[in-house]
Amino acid sequence: MTEMPVINPDKCDGCGLCVGVCHNNALALVNNVITIIATVECDWCTDCEAVCLMGAISCPFEIIIQES
């Protein structure tokens, strides 16, 4: 399953700033709450997380060691 940014709809105030900054058009406001609409297009730039003042969207990183 493709990992996607994590959305907390309870925190989303529907400002839509994340929709505007997503250069892959992976986000949209549905019923005034942020929703992921293009599951394969997100490149994890984390701009959506950076602009969200409510902390409603997060892009957590998994940290792994490269197999040698």
Binding site: L17, V21, C22, D47, V51, S58, C59, E62, I63, I64
Partner: protein, 223 residues
């Protein structure tokens, strides 16, 4: 899009003003549309207009001689940028770029100066904005100059490595910033530096540690 009085009221510069004053300000404001990734202001150029973000987001940043960028602030609707050169008459101290489609409200430098003379309330509001800007930049200066943030970020990465299945605690840059006692902008810059030095690489939602020893050296380096 006509300039809305309600929106003008939400701008700190123009808060607590009467309707007549807001109407006068509205006459002086012009609209500018900017595309994604378009440069709004280049660092080092003369400033002619003060801008407020009406919709969208603008990133303010400085670029080093080596081409490295340090984000200074993210400007959201209702907030202004390039205030400093408008008031001190100098050049743009930083660049500004649209993070997506953006609509700006601009006001010419001369009009802003005249407004300050005629409306002391605006002058007081400007002082408040500039004071909070100084506070934010001082905190960034402290992080960038005195704290060994890159070492803390390297330590956080080593302490949060996933198990053999690759699943471990997952961290956002905001969480790393809270752990390192710094700003998200500084964590972003630290991760980029570690990537450039070959200690880590990004693979979408994964940070892959490619050189554990190098990370260890970064942690042990004197601050």
């Amino acid at each position: 899009m006509a300039v809305q009085l309600e929106f003008l009221k939400s701008i700190v510069y123009f808060s607590d003003l009467g309707l007549a004053e807001l109407e006068l300000i509205r006459e002086l404001i012009f609209e500018k549309t900017v595309d994604r990734a378009e440069m709004v202001l280049p660092e080092g150029e003369p400033a002619t207009n003060l801008y407020f973000v009406a919709s969208g987001v603008v990133q303010v940043f400085k670029t080093s001689a080596e081409g490295k960028e340090q984000i200074l602030s993210i400007v959201r609707p209702g907030e202004s940028f390039n205030d400093v050169p408008i008031f001190d008459g100098g050049l743009n101290p930083a660049s500004a770029r649209a993070m997506g489609p953006v609509i700006l409200y601009g006001i010419k430098k001369n009009d802003m100066e005249a407004m300050l003379v005629d409306h002391p309330k605006i002058a007081l509001n400007v002082i408040k904005v500039l004071a909070s800007r100084v506070r934010h930049l001082l905190s960034l200066v402290e992080d960038l100059s005195f704290k060994h943030v890159i070492g803390r970020v390297a330590k956080i990465l080593l302490e949060h490595i996933g198990d053999e299945t690759g699943r471990g605690p997952r961290l956002t840059q905001q969480e790393m910033a809270a752990m390192a006692g710094t700003a998200r902008e500084v964590v972003g810059r630290s991760l980029k530096t570690l990537e450039e030095e070959g200690a880590i690489k990004f693979d979408r939602h994964r940070i892959i540690i490619t050189d554990k020893e190098m990370l260890q050296k970064v942690i042990e380096a004197p601050s």
